[in-house]
């Protein structure tokens, strides 16, 4: 039976001088007990659809037309009060950012109880019992219901919101990017939890995400949105295995995967301008297959016979041919630079046992007793080296110290021990008066392109500022700025020079941030999660850009991320970090395909697969990383390790415990080569099955 039926939904936002057509005639329906996915890049209108369903549109958003039928009642015709009764009782919501979607000054238990009290007439004691029960269901300690949100980690907060969504056993749960911003391992656990619970409760799920992989693993049906239009719709197996719409093909190809030999292909261009109601196909200006017909009208959804599969494309009948072409980067007008592994140059930066410990504050009493203070060992004995023209990837969960490592390498934090040498000189050399020189040669790009650019400066000023500071190429500033902007793909540069950051898209902003770092022609670049806030196609663009820079400009790059899939795409070598230490390091192919350390295996297995037909063996890690202040003796990973034995607890394995020059791991019982722990990563039975054109069709 149909639970939710959305028909011809149209939502607009009124801004000061124009109307944004965010959702244009979207229709889909969800049956009872079905998991439905809404996928698309930012700006595709997917969140707007959810907000319209829940009546949570911001003040300037209006539902222009269309019907939303839930269980036979038209939600649009309800009064506010009637609608409030349905919210949570029948439709619950798991919000996007668990970090700030819980009320900071209300205990987590109270927030859940509040949802119960609003809809049910129950006693406080009963509500509390229910909250405890819910905490148990989502895997949280029921004794913690009186704690406040800030006492929980990001993943646990997301569990709290899931518990809240389950409180009244709703028929439909709408989850808006429930795992964005969480690292892979936590994401994997959360998805596993949602699926497990949802199966038990037999409710439907509407999952909104830009990660096709997550949908492929969890959903039965999906709609792919672009520019507020449904581009393709149907069962996940059909749509993702045999896409018939060029946009879906592009989106799928740009999703980086660990075990894929091909470079991901990004869709060039940027999302459409929605200030007018679309007349042509919304994807026309980015579509390599566009014909005249596409410019005339947006195609209706075409029902593919005998399959649960609809696609909005004028050339849907030629889908098989298009699909073959779509794999070729040249189709998308991207020059195929080939996989020329350029020679790696000499070592530019080297660390030896690098340490960054933060002292914990002490009580007066223990200071008086001259007790040793506790240290947070954020970086604890890291030995790495980066060569010119090489990209070194550093991966790890949140809190493993990878960002601190990056900052210490950039000398933004003072090392508390060990050695760091750059260009043959020790870091002390730079700290004693030569910091300016270091700052010119080594640059860092930060995570958030929205906060790291001064909003009151034009692009010209932002990119030109380092030149003034370092008195570099000051006689040809303008030329240097233009050159750099073009290098990072902001062409024509003149168009961007006088824009302010808020006028640029996320991808463009991050490019400006990269340009700012490159304008000084550095020898070394540290990128701290530069792509984590970007959409897939933009992410791939940035990765390709960095890869290209390393090859052509002779720069050494350290790329820090929790996203192994993008790391394997961009890096030459990969280092896996756990609690301040490097536990595995080596050439990217060997680490990704034949991991030695059990932790690496579980990280690799946590990345979702975009191919719905692939089954992946999950290695769910128990618990959270231990307290970095009070580390267990022996191997730090032992408490969570499935293979830990007595000897692991006794002494700590060194990084060269196993392996050779090109692949080292700190483990006594490494996964032996050729017998990979994560089967999905290297499953011989599915050779690049995600690219298989042969299935179906």
């Amino acid at each position: 039976m149909t639970l939710l039926n959305v028909e011809d939904l149209k939502v607009t936002y009124a801004t000061d001088d124009e109307t944004i057509h965010a959702v244009n005639d979207v229709s889909f329906s969800i049956d009872e007990g079905v998991n439905y996915g809404l996928a698309g890049e930012s700006g595709s209108g997917k969140s707007t659809v959810a907000e319209a369903l829940l009546g949570l549109l911001p003040g300037n958003g209006t539902v222009e037309r269309g019907t939303i039928e839930f269980n036979g009642t038209d939600l649009m015709s309800l009064s506010d009060a009637e609608r409030r009764d349905i919210l949570w009782e029948d439709i619950a919501y798991i919000p996007q950012s668990a970090m700030d979607s819980l009320d900071p000054v209300m205990s987590t238990g109270d927030q859940i109880a509040q949802a119960i009290h609003t809809h049910r007439n129950v006693t406080d004691a009963k509500a509390r019992d229910r909250v405890k029960e819910l905490f148990e269901i989502v895997g949280l300690d029921p004794d913690r219901i009186d704690e406040y949100p800030h006492e929980f980690s990001g993943g646990m907060r997301q569990r709290v919101t899931i518990a809240m969504a389950l409180a009244l056993e709703p028929d439909l749960i709408i989850a808006d990017e429930p795992t964005t911003g969480l690292d892979v391992i936590v994401q994997d656990k959360i998805i596993d939890k949602i699926l497990e619970i949802q199966e038990r409760m037999d409710s439907s799920l509407l999952l909104i995400t830009h990660e096709i992989g997550v949908i492929a693993e969890t959903c039965d049906e999906l709609s792919i949105l672009y520019g507020g239009k449904v581009m393709e719709q149907g069962s996940v197996d059909n749509v993702l295995v045999n896409p018939t719409n060029p946009y879906t093909m592009g989106l799928k190809n740009s999703f980086p995967e660990i075990d894929e030999s091909d470079d991901p292909v990004a869709i060039p261009g940027s999302p459409p301008n929605l200030s007018r109601e679309p007349t042509a196909c919304v994807f026309e200006d980015r579509c390599p297959f566009a014909t005249d017909e596409c410019g005339e009208s947006h195609p209706e959804l075409f029902d593919l016979p005998n399959r649960n599969h609809r696609s909005a494309c004028h050339r849907v009948k030629e889908a098989a041919q298009l699909r073959r072409d779509a794999h070729d980067p040249e189709t998308w007008n991207i020059p195929d630079d080939g996989d020329d592994d350029s020679d790696r140059g000499e070592v530019i930066l080297e660390t030896d046992d690098l340490e960054k410990h933060y002292e914990q504050s002490q009580t007066l009493l223990s200071k008086f007793r001259a007790e040793d203070p506790d240290y947070v060992k954020a970086v604890d004995g890291v030995s790495l080296s980066v060569r010119r023209s090489e990209v070194l990837g550093i991966a790890g969960e949140s809190g493993c110290g990878k960002s601190t490592l990056g900052e210490t390498m950039a000398l933004l934090e003072d090392p508390t021990g060990g050695e760091l040498s750059f260009d043959g000189e020790s870091y002390e050399h730079y700290q004693n008066g030569n910091l300016q020189e270091f700052r010119r040669k080594a640059q860092i790009i930060f995570q958030d392109p929205f906060d790291s650019l001064n909003p009151r400066q034009t692009v010209r000023k932002i990119v030109g500022e380092p030149l003034t500071i370092h008195d570099y190429r000051t006689d040809e500033t303008e030329q240097a700025i233009v050159e750099t902007l073009e290098k990072v793909g902001l062409t024509p540069a003149e168009k961007f020079l006088d824009s302010y950051p808020h006028e640029l898209s996320g991808g463009q902003r991050q490019r400006v941030a990269v340009a700012k770092a490159l304008v000084l022609d550095p020898d070394f670049l540290i990128c701290d999660e530069p792509a984590s806030m970007l959409d897939v196609s933009l992410k791939v663009n940035l990765l390709n850009l960095l890869r290209g820079l390393a090859d052509t400009e002779d720069i050494g790059i350290v790329y820090i991320s929790h996203d192994l899939a993008s790391l394997t795409q961009v890096s030459d070598r990969l280092a896996i970090m756990y609690l301040g230490r490097i536990i595995e390091e080596g050439d990217v192919d060997r680490v990704a395909n034949r991991p030695s350390h059990p932790y690496t295996s579980s990280l690799l297995s946590a990345a979702p697969e975009k191919d719905p037909t692939a089954d992946r063996a999950r290695v769910l890690l128990e618990g959270e990383p231990p307290d970095p202040v009070d580390l267990p003796s022996g191997c730090a990973f032992a408490p969570r390790c499935p293979k830990a034995q007595e000897s692991c607890w006794e002494s700590e394995p060194a990084i060269d415990e196993t392996g050779d020059e090109t692949h080292r791991a700190a483990c006594y019982f490494p996964d032996s080569d050729g017998e990979p722990a994560a089967s999905a990563v290297d499953d011989p039975e599915l050779p690049g099955s995600s690219n298989a054109d042969s299935i179906g069709d």
Binding site: L87, W88, P95, S101, P104, V105, A115, S361
Partner: protein, 331 residues
Amino acid sequence: MTKFQRFLLKRLAISVLLTLIAVSVIFVVLRLLPGSPFEALVTSGNLNQAQIDEIRAMYGLDEPMWKQYINYLGSLLTFQFGYSILRSQPVWEVLEPRLINSLILLVPALVTTAVLSSVLGMYAGWNRGSRLEKFSIVSTTLLRSTPVFITAIFFIIVFAYNLEIVPALGMRSIRATPDGYLETFVSLDFLHHYILPFTVAVLYYSGDFLLLARNGVVEKRGSEFLKLHRAKGLSEMEQLARAGRNSMLPILTYFTLRLGMIFQGLILLEVVFSWPGIGRELVLAIQQQDYPLVQAAVFIMALAVIIANLTADVLYAYFDPTVSTNGGGSA
């Protein structure tokens, strides 16, 4: 010892230290002023040197500075404020009624305005862009930026002289001879005199609270947790209550600070309304260099501000669970 107790102890120690510093500053500054309390008597030529010395000795002013300081600290910290030179009365007898008069006017005014303007401000912030919001901002900003004596005089002109609803000056009518606080304050006559200065004080303080509350709610309005509250099916007012609760901290800070500062009275207001408050008395005492009176008054004020700060810290920990009570870093 729990974390909170440690935190409290630390804050208390800091407060004591601050109090000591404050009273020392008062001591030094007063003695840096030119002249002495007996200047007037000396210049009028009615006293000879021997008499002057005698009086100075009586007040202990002939002793060396450090000894005066020790005596001063000792007496102050045991709440012995000495004898007013100007009024020939024990200092506390001078200060107490005036302090009470100031507090009885200003504390209710502050509490009233804190509650009313904050609620109004939150409502205005929630309905951003509404007429109510614009009007409330303009009017309270106007009231806040006009010097209080202008507003007060304006109110006196309108309500006392033109409409003759309330008396213009004083706390009680001239003929009243009340005995004790109860008789002074519990009477219609007092209420009659009270309304006008009370209203002016309420209006004067209202702007700050209104703007603080409004800005807090405006800032919280688009936040994710309110969206989740809304999705849970909370009504508009329940959501506003959560937004308000989340923007309490600045209001709380401001309220406790103001509460501490009330012990200084509102000098201009007291002068315009001839309200026998502590502010007026202090100005007079400084003019006359009445050391004991000024010292005691400033001590009480400093103490009040310090205690208010301490209260704010403790309330913080209560109202915002994310405020860390271990003081951050080592002190």
